[in-house]
Amino acid sequence: MFALINLSYLTAAVCFILGIKGMTKPATAVRGNQLAATGMLVAVVAALMHQQIVGYETIIAGMLLGGGIGVWLARRTAMTAMPELVASLNGIGGGASLAVASSTWLNTSAAGTVPGTAWSIAIIASIAIGAITLTGSTVAVLKLRGNLGDSRRARQWQGVTLLCLLGVVAAAAVFVSSALECPLILPVLVGLCLLLGIGLVQPIGGADMPVVVALLNAYSGLAGAATGFVLQNQGLIITGSLVGASGLILTAVMCKAMNRSLPNVLFGGALGGNDATATADNSDEFYAGKVKYSSADELAMLLDGARKVVMVPGYGLAVAQAQHAVKELASQLEARGASVSYAIHPVAGRMPGHMNVLLAEAEISYDQLKDMDAINPELPQADVAIVLGANDVVNPAAAEEPSSPIYGMPILDVHKAKTVVVVKRSLSPGFAGIPNSLFIRDNSLMVKGDAKEVLQATTSAIKEL
């Protein structure tokens, strides 16, 4: 029986690996996800068969409650709110690890077994990573939703973090040496780790939240792996490290796309000054008289003669829920013989690949979605590039002005297109807080307004031509 249960965990881990392998192609991704879900079912059934289990009431009650909340969350969440949902789920996973580790420790303590050092370290890792993921994700969600602004007291938070870290190390040392004699140490350790999670994420600016969410995703996996060490369950270790690796890679992707180093994001709150705000104040002067305004009708005429059109969606498009309006305009243009593609910057949207999901929601074929490296060589041939609520990711300063704070960040070379049309509600700066020299270029026009309204007006103007 024991061998059978353990083989089931192995089967589950294999299902997860094959499931992720399916995710490498859009065509096989749905089946991959279903395979992974099947793996989870196998693991749950195996765990339920364990002889250690004596009562099923609590388990079933928890599963029904959690499952119900899960279904509700999955159905209710809008695609634009996906980063918040993923961040919340990271936190929930961390919370689960924390609860398992604490409960296991209490059980062992009640049974009077003397734990080994390695076991204690695994428990501490599980508690620490779980707790940091829980509170860190909560702060990340609040920042993504805009409920929590950027910290003005970053330095104090760094101090709190440092103190917590020292406290955790001290408490961990006591825990390992005399875990069972001192029952108070568990709540102290948990409390400190929870505070540490807040301290680590609070000083990080809202613009860097996508990186943090990816990192917390990695943490939630590592918390699972640590739980695997506690329970001496290899299936859990394999699964946890898969998720950990995934999160770490996505974190690296985000950092590269934003031209930041991970330590810079993590500790930037305390080290970097807020010089960006000073530049933003000068933006009126920067743009004065140099921006050429245009209208939806003119845009329609411009598009009428265009052969190659590139759409550049940014978060402004997502907020305006304009993905369907883009699709409609693109269909019009395609009917007139133009080729339309979509240039996707890795940080367009608010997490890796978020913009692809939003455009897929509008049934835009993924063959038309081109990532930065694929579209940049094509942009000089584009007749019109339409920038929809994107800002920093198309700022030529990143390529041309070494003095700019975003210098070196990989961008979409939209300014190389024959004509650039910027659809934006105002000249307000993006996340980086700096004015965009794209807007005052000779080949660029600005259509002020909500992305959805402008696109709809353009589509109807084209129909009337």
């Binding site: 997860f16 992720i20 490498t24 859009p26 749905v30 996800n33 992974a36 879900a37 989870m40 693991a43 749950v44 765990a47 289990i53 004596v54 009562g55 609590t58 388990i59 928890g62 409650l65 499952g67 909340i69 899960g70 279904v71 969350l73 993923v86 789920l89 689960a96 690890s97 609860a99 398992v100 409960s103 296991t104 009640a110 049974a111 939630s220 739980t227 695997g228 060490f229 369950n233 290899q234 299936g235 270790i237 394999i238 490290s241 898969l242 690796a245 995934s246 999160g247 996505l250 890795p346 949207g349 997490m351 890796p352 690949g353 692809n356 897929a360 929601e361 049934e363 835009i364 990532d371």
Partner: protein, 95 residues
């Protein structure tokens, strides 16, 4: 101690498998990948089931924590897989 070394070996090897596997996922699928791996990290439900089900020796607090753990892990699993499925189905139908 031998088991620990074995577990650690598996942990490191699995990290490498993960890196190899995930590097091949195209940027288009990065968001579904994130929510999908999120669901997979709900595997801690295995530990949660032990905590919630083995009520013989456990004091009430440990049992309650087990219940919380099962609930949280279930949310993670169900919401994660369902929302991933919802996203991936959008990619499946071609425009």
């Amino acid at each position: 101690m031998d088991l620990l070394v074995l577990s650690f070996t598996i942990f490191i090897l699995a990290l490498f498998v993960g890196v190899e596997l995930i590097n091949k996922v195209p940027p288009t699928l990065h968001t579904p990948l994130m929510s999908g791996t999120n669901a997979i990290s709900g595997i801690v439900i295995v530990g949660a089931i032990f905590s919630a089900g083995s009520s013989e020796v456990s004091p009430t607090l440990a049992h309650a924590l087990g219940f919380i753990a099962v609930t949280l892990a279930s949310i993670n699993i169900v919401a994660g897989f369902l929302v991933t499925d919802r996203m991936l189905n959008m990619f499946k139908r071609k425009g």
